[in-house]
Symmetry: C2
Subunit: 366 residues, 2 copies
């Protein structure tokens, strides 16, 4: 049964699973639990505690090694290259972003390229962490292979998200966080479960033909090296698929290119680390004058758009990050929603690791 | 009649028109002619010498004032804010990029936000200029209003291009240069001239309905404040239109937000300057170690994609920037192609300003 859970309780429970069940260190567990709980609170369940299954698989297959400490292998006053040594992705990301922020505080701007990491959760969280410091924050990562280049047939790049956060005067953050593929794979899984046809422009099959049957596509995705996600703009060049592919490739080059890490195609090798690569940047607003003025101006441009006329049937223009921020505010009041499958999985893990059941806000157990 | 022209001859002729006819200074004319000729050579005629008409309109309406010198209004060791004082856009962009490159040479990375500028030609040219210095180059700009936010009805943002250049070991540059709208407006004009229906996902009419009739759309675009270009991903959210809109808005915030310049909605006010805002960044490759290693790795990732399997009917995966680089190489051998309308316009201008006719490579006049 699906249920709502108090944020703090879900956070503590997830941390327990990771520390007591998965063998994560206290810090690794704390940060990873926070990243996963935040995703659920923001209404991005594909990257929430349901990811515990993926993180466990990474442990059992040797891709992630808890306890491995990230190492700075190149340093300048405004840049770092970090080797994650196949450690825990969320921990490596948090560590790298904090190191980078120290540089940005003294240099004005800083960059960090990371190799040999693992899945770091929602990219937007890292961009937002940076933006909360009155900086423009950017976070990119490559991923397992999922996407097809324009006119290609083989999955060779990741869903390669772009995340950028800019602070507004109101304390809000403009937060763009988008897979460069039309949709993240979690969307396909949802359509599969609901037996709903996918729109054109999401995916092609192993022969390079458009596919709308999510169940058939899932078989291709896990059974063949061909077929996969299309990039934003869909098939071919007519409505801009080559632009989305270009963005996905750009993310790849910033992440694995600059860190000398594995490209998406070479991530998760048998018997090897995850090989995921990230790229972060932080740029202080006061590089351009008075941050209060920039933030007010950014806010006024956004307000102009909010107020602008809507099409029939719609009464709102959503600014990137708004839906997620509102979902988070609701979750803080009403609890974090988890669907039935995720509740069952949590209960299973609790039983296996001898942990107390997590109680939902309605009194039922996860 | 359409024709091919020697690159140097077209460059010199365009410079003459600007210097002798438009009243540009020698430097303004030299740089603007280079930018326009490069666009035609690269196969981007929408931003080529046909833009002389738009640049002239900007003069006659007082949006652009040749002779106005850009001024640095804020400076740190790694950043600049430039006020273009309504000068010539290409000249301001060139000046700003050169100033920024000086900072990047000493600081490792640098940024430049520009306000009160004008149209600066193809964004990719500036990103490429930076990339040629073994740096990652980025160039953004807002534009006249053209695009519609997801669920909006009013044109309120520009086509707001993103351009990023990364150097490869081969001497090639990965060069992504894309309007964040599905297509730039020049594509609509082409479909209008050819009486060809536009694909779904390019534009909506003043009532917010999809429009495929390019001629009807042109009337809306110039006759109503409603209706306009959709962003990459098209209408609604199903195939990611909100992501393209998010990218377009990001460009707006980086350009006008950080420079405190006009937003696209407020560009080209009656009796005022163009009010166009740009944002540039340069990041040295040696911030991440040995540039030769980065460039080789970037090249190998790209080669993996080039070699990867194609769909039926296609024998090539194009990497961003390749088509344009090859078009340029052809133009250097065979001449720069101009269509009939552009040839006629050049001939008209030459006559008006008392300049010698530009001779095409076939001996015919422009």
């Amino acid at each position: 049964m699906s249920s709502h859970f108090a944020y703090d309780a879900l956070l503590a429970h997830t941390k327990d699973i990771l520390a007591k069940g998965y063998g994560y260190s206290e810090e690794e567990a704390r940060i990873t639990a926070w990243v996963l709980t935040e995703a659920d609170a923001r209404g991005i369940p594909s990257h929430g505690v349901s990811r515990l299954a993926f993180y466990r698989k990474n442990l059992s297959q040797g891709h992630a090694r808890p306890g491995a400490e990230p190492e700075v292998v190149w340093r300048t006053p405004c840049s770092l290259v970090v080797d994650g040594h196949d450690g825990v992705g969320c921990y490596i990301a948090d560590w790298s972003v904090r190191e980078m922020l120290e540089l940005a505080k003294s240099s004005g701007a800083a960059y960090c390229a990371v190799r040999n990491s693992n899945h770091y959760g929602i990219a937007g969280l890292w961009a937002e962490e940076i933006a909360r410091q009155d900086m423009i924050g950017m976070a990119f990562t490559n991923t397992y292979i999922a996407g097809i280049p324009t006119f290609g047939r083989r999955r060779i790049l990741g869903t390669n998200p772009i995340a950028v956060g800019l602070p507004e005067a109101s304390g809000r953050v403009f937060l763009l966080d988008m897979a460069t593929t039309t949709v993240a794979h979690g969307k396909v899984e949802l359509y599969d479960r609901r037996r709903k046809p996918m729109p054109l422009g999401w995916a092609i099959d192993e022969n390079g033909r458009s596919v709308t049957d999510a169940t058939a596509f899932e078989k291709v995705f896990y059974g063949s090296k061909f077929g996969g996600h299309l990039y934003l703009g869909g098939e071919g060049e007519e409505i801009g698929g080559h632009k989305g592919f270009g963005l996905g490739l750009l993310v790849e080059l910033l992440c694995s290119g600059l860190s000398l890490g594995a490209s998406s195609l070479n991530t998760y090798p048998e018997g090897g680390g995850g090989g995921i690569a990230h790229f972060f940047s932080a740029m202080r607003l006061d590089l351009f004058g008075d941050p209060a003025a920039q933030k007010a101006h950014i806010g006024s441009i956004i307000d102009e758009i909010r107020r602008s006329e809507k099409i029939a049937g719609h009464d709102r223009i959503f600014i990137p990050g708004e839906k997620e921020a509102e979902s988070r505010a609701r979750a803080m009041n009403e609890g974090v929603y988890l669907d039935e499958a995720t509740c069952s999985y949590l209960a299973e893990l609790a039983k296996e690791f001898g942990l107390a059941e997590l109680k939902g806000l309605c009194g039922c157990a996860a």
